[in-house]
């Protein structure tokens, strides 16, 4: 809607006031000046009020509080944390917890979403109906309700640690969370890791050679089996050569609680389950519309070339569907990340819960704390969308 910038300048004669009033450029400038003045006045008023209010309530300002001792415990932490550390450290713990649940949630939601989305298009009436029921139920319920239902309705009604539910592989489930054996790597692990790297490298090599041969001769030969054999075989041999350097720390019943092993907290499970199942319903719809957007002729052409069903899906339909799927999928990933802030309602120590909750209550420095919290999400959003834009540009159709 840009107006032509080069217009014949009519103003050789000195302009009167009305000449300026009816000149769109002059009016635009005047309007912007007024808006700018109003904005400055508005912001100045807010700043002035805030400073006054803060003084009246005796609240400190500035970011010095970040170096003060936090003095509270956090129930789950990916990095070393004790309550004698600073607020800045607590912030980092919360941020990492948010990222953890967001990343795992995104992976889980994508997997479930793709399965349900494809299932809804299945020719099998029963499977398609089940997928529809899943989508229509979960999409129309608030995510917070899902969290509550999983957390208070299911996980909190589990038995106490004394009567834990026993699961396979010496795992236990009780109201304090999911316990499973912690792997302890002994001496000689390096050989196993080396084997793993070697196996992966070998698999890549096999795949690359197969691809080269296919491009040169047109004969397809599957590299899948040898690749799998390499990835599993070499590390396995290395593992036994090193003398099975792996032992487990099994959770055992203590007096009040299970001891040892790794514990996944019920808050984390609830948040993860609630968010990923909810988001999966939306992803399923996106996947479905993406697949439907691929013209039928593409499938028919692929079938005419002699590809079988799996190949049609993998080589023809999905690559084209991805172009339609990715932009809305980005939005869902962002939504999931933002929704992870619901953690505050069930007490999972994410960024909002730790920082905008506990730290804000202790320091009262609302302005700084909320600003920091908001900017973290803003940066996360911008980073995610930048990455997805890059990915989108990679898979987009290159037109001449």
């Amino acid at each position: 809607m840009k107006r032509p910038s080069k217009r014949p300048s009519p103003a050789k004669v000195p302009r009167s006031l009305s000449g300026y009033v009816y000149d769109p450029k002059a009016r635009g400038l005047a309007l912007q000046a007024i808006v700018a003045l109003l904005l400055v006045w508005f912001v100045a008023g807010i700043v002035d009020n805030t400073i006054r209010n803060l003084e009246a309530q005796g609240i400190a300002s500035g970011f010095d509080f970040l170096d003060n001792t936090a003095g509270f415990d956090i129930s789950q932490s990916l990095i070393a944390y004790t309550n004698t550390m600073t607020y800045a450290r607590a912030f980092l713990v919360g941020l990492l917890n948010t990222l953890l649940v967001a990343v795992v949630g995104i992976v889980l939601a994508t997997v479930v979403g793709f399965i349900v989305g494809v299932a809804r298009l299945s020719g099998n009436w029963l499977i398609a109906t089940l997928a529809t029921v899943y989508i229509e139920t979960l999409r129309n319920i608030p995510p917070l309700l899902m969290l509550f239902a999983v957390y208070f309705g299911v996980l909190k009604t589990l038995p106490s640690p004394r009567n834990s539910v026993e699961l396979p592989f010496s795992s236990y489930l009780n109201t304090r969370g999911l316990y499973f054996p912690a792997p302890i790597w002994g001496e000689g692990t390096w050989l196993f890791v080396l084997g793993l790297i070697g196996g992966l490298a070998g698999a890549l090599l096999v795949y690359w050679k197969a691809r080269r041969q296919r491009l040169l001769t047109g004969r397809a030969n599957s590299a899948l089996l040898p690749a799998i054999a390499l990835v599993i075989g070499i590390p396995l041999v290395a593992f036994f050569l090193a003398g099975t350097p792996l032992s487990f720390d099994y959770p055992e019943a203590g007096r009040f609680n299970l001891k040892g092993g790794v514990v996944v907290q019920p808050e984390f499970i609830a948040l993860l389950a609630g968010l990923s199942l909810y988001t999966a319903a939306f992803i399923a719809e996106i996947v479905r519309s993406g697949i439907l957007a691929v013209p039928k002729g593409q499938r028919e052409a692929a079938a005419a070339l002699g590809l079988h069903d799996g190949q049609i899906m993998r080589l023809v339909v999905i690559p084209q569907a991805l172009r339609v799927i990715i932009p809305p999928l980005t939005n869902q990933y962002l939504n999931l990340t933002k929704n992870s802030s619901l953690a505050v309602a069930i007490g999972y120590p994410d960024l909002v819960s730790v920082f905008a909750g506990t730290v804000l209550n202790q320091t009262n420095q609302a302005v700084e704390v909320i600003l920091i919290t908001m900017s973290v999400y803003l940066v996360l959003s911008l980073l995610t969308s930048a990455f997805m834009n890059w990915f989108n540009a990679r898979v987009a159709i290159v037109e001449r």
Binding site: N53, A56, L126, L130, N140, A149, N339, V344, V352, M374
Partner: protein, 369 residues
Amino acid sequence: MTNGTFKLRPELPTISVIGWLKANLFSSWGNSILTLVGAMISVWLVWSVLDWAVLRAVFSGSDGSTCRVAGAGACWPFVAHKFQLFMYGRYPGEEIWRVNLTYMLALAGLVPLMLPGVGGKLWLSIYMLVVFPVIAFFLLTGAEWLGLENVATEMWGGLLVTLVVACVGIAASFPIGIILALARRSELPLIRWLAIGFIEFVRGVPLVTVLFFASVMLPLFLPENVTFDKLLRALIGVALFSAAYLAEVVRGGLQAIPRGQFEAADALGLSYPQKMGLIVLPQALKLVIPGIVNSFIALFKDTSLVLIIGVFDLLGIVQQGISSDAKWFSPQTAATGYVFAAFVFWMFCFGMSRYSVWLERRLDTGHKS
């Protein structure tokens, strides 16, 4: 093929039950296995719901004791006894007719407005946008000069708060959203950048932080001794939040209007407000009605977050009833409460989404391009 001996019979449609089963459920080995697994899941699902909600459920009792029996299913008396609380919060019992009257007045305006083919849309819109909000405000909060007792918003709760927050949120965010969308497409750089900044900022942060902002930072921004109530703060947060999303929906509509429309309006010598108000917006808004309904559904679900800043909507009040009422404590109380809340939310959201789909089909004039 030219001599006519090669005949292709049209395939007979499979209308028999067995034919349908064969085509849709047992067309191949893999499909048959899938069907069996699906059937097992369905039977298990239906059976456990039926078993829990009906067969093992408790239907009577004046407190949680009847639900504390081992093996009991859903605790329906919990919902029955708290029904009024869940619907209206602690709104005084003898004043509840005012809430119901407000609902009636809203329906009287909304139903004809939502059904195409009913005339007088202009008057109905004026009623819904101008007259009804004023009446509803006085009816719900009270007016001494009409003999209506004041009811503080702290007494409101349950579905009432959910509906109030969602409706006021969408109504207030509508004009702001339109202004933001127009500003984002403005030719004036300052105005455009302000709009982009606001929209992208709000869309980049979670609603929880916006609510925290509204609840703890907004009071600091105001002059001393100006305070306002918690519900209003939540409303401001929700309205600002959904305005940013609505702005993007409206922008989509604006972008779909062909350039010729703008140019024709300019050529006719219409001013900017005339051009937008008479030519562009009516077309653009019509295009995005389904999008608006979808944002309303999202907003409706998001209202449950206000419980984080201490305003008790339907979910908040159910949660409160579950966690803080020892009289009703039983292993299944929580599940029963959530199932009830989920059902109410689901009915509203599902209904609206069906309406949106129906509208989309109706508005689809068939020449999209």
